[in-house]
């Protein structure tokens, strides 16, 4: 009897150990918090590849943004910074391609026919992101309340944006029961990769460890 119980006990222990390792910690120190948020394993760090362009959508929790700003400032208290971030849901979207890629080796100039085109592209990406990035929640479509074009990074051949959405059901971090999965949609304006959705589960947006300073 004992010999038949042992393997079962071992497998239960293994399952418990796996669950313990994969579950979200309740609190984290600052350096571990930043690593935790940036890890590719997080469900809120999503990516897909279309035609050699890697498209990433990453959720940036309010505490992470507040901490980043707190480290760069010497006078604003952390709580004040956190307050300014906690009602929005912030996402970073990036497009990146290999610099050696024959088609997308330079994302900035892809499909550009001249200086006028380039100027218009930069203007549109800087001020018109709400035309191609939006969110869907419970059947409603939301445009971002804030958009920031972070620019072209020629070294990594990367284009990135930050967008902030206000979803009433998110309730400044005290999510109501009606807060469900959030779909972020990127409708590509220039690089021929079409409409791309990223489905963020409620759990992944709500279950974030608390930052201990």
């Amino acid at each position: 009897v004992i010999s038949s119980i042992r393997p079962s006990l071992a497998s239960i222990c293994l399952v418990l150990l796996t669950l313990a390792c994969s579950s979200t910690p309740e609190t984290l120190s600052a350096d571990r918090y930043a690593k935790w948020v940036s890890s590719e394993d997080r469900e809120f760090n999503k990516s897909k590849e279309v035609k050699n362009i890697e498209l990433k959508a990453r959720y940036l929790p309010a505490e992470y943004l507040a901490y980043r700003e707190y480290m760069g400032s010497d006078s604003i208290p952390f709580d004040s910074l956190l307050k300014s971030y906690q009602c929005g849901l912030t996402f970073q979207l990036t497009l990146q391609a290999d610099k050696a890629d024959k088609v997308y080796g330079n994302l900035q100039y892809y499909g550009v026919r001249g200086q006028e085109d380039l100027t218009e592209r930069i203007r549109f990406l800087s001020f018109g992101a709400e035309n191609f990035i939006h969110a869907q929640h419970n059947g409603e479509t939301y445009t971002p309340v804030l958009t920031h074009f972070e620019g072209f990074d020629p070294i990594s051949n990367r284009v990135s944006f930050q967008v902030v959405f206000i979803i009433p059901e998110y309730n400044c971090g005290n999510a109501k029961d009606s807060f469900q999965n959030l779909i972020i949609t990127y409708e590509d304006p220039y690089w021929d990769i079409g409409k791309n959705n990223f489905d963020f589960s409620r759990e992944s947006l709500v279950s974030i460890p608390k930052l201990i300073l």
Binding site: K46, K48, I184, I193
Partner: protein
């Protein structure tokens, strides 16, 4: 003597098994998709087409309202032409001809814009599908995925090699961002 025969038979059997196994593993793994179904049933195509139709309707509505304006001006001229002098008629006809030419140019420009948008829309959708099919083949260890087309380049395919449905499920899940 018997032992030698047995050893030879065993060696031959193992060699034959090995050879067959080699043949089995080294032959290319094939599958095919019904391209038309894959494209038409892909949620990305359905969405893109709906977006395109919305854009197209807005563009066509502009042309239609300009056509209506021209038509009203033309009818008005026809009704009043009898009471006009030769010079007035000539001036009005020139103006209407110019308006008509401009309308035709605008119409042609809109047609070309619609074609451009259509190509752009389908190009992006096909890029998504092709990237996914490539990824699917690598993950599932397939050497070749063929596509049936309406032109009939693939004449026959065993049903078990048809991966359209499973590919479509995964492709649509990916589109939904799951």
């Amino acid at each position: 003597m018997n032992r030698i025969v047995l050893i030879i038979v065993a060696v031959l059997t193992i060699a034959s098994l090995g050879f067959n196994l080699y043949l089995y593993t080294s032959r290319p793994k094939l599958a095919y998709v019904r391209s038309h179904d894959l494209i038409e049933k892909y949620a990305g195509t359905v969405d893109a087409r709906a977006d395109f139709e919305r854009k197209k309707s807005a563009m066509v509505a502009n042309v239609d309202s300009l056509k209506a304006l021209f038509e009203r001006a033309r009818v008005e001229y026809m009704n009043r032409a009898g009471s006009m002098s030769q010079a007035q008629r000539s001036e009005r006809e020139n103006s209407l001809t110019l308006q008509h030419n401009q309308l035709q140019q605008y119409n042609a420009a809109i047609d070309s814009k619609i074609d451009e948008e259509d190509n752009k829309m389908m190009g992006a959708v096909l890029n998504q599908i092709n990237s996914f099919v490539e990824d699917y083949a690598q993950k599932n260890d397939l050497d070749v995925i063929m596509g049936t087309t309406l032109a009939g380049s693939l004449l026959y395919g065993e049903k078990s090699l048809d991966i359209t449905d499973q590919l479509l499920v995964e492709l649509n899940n990916k589109y939904k961002g799951k």
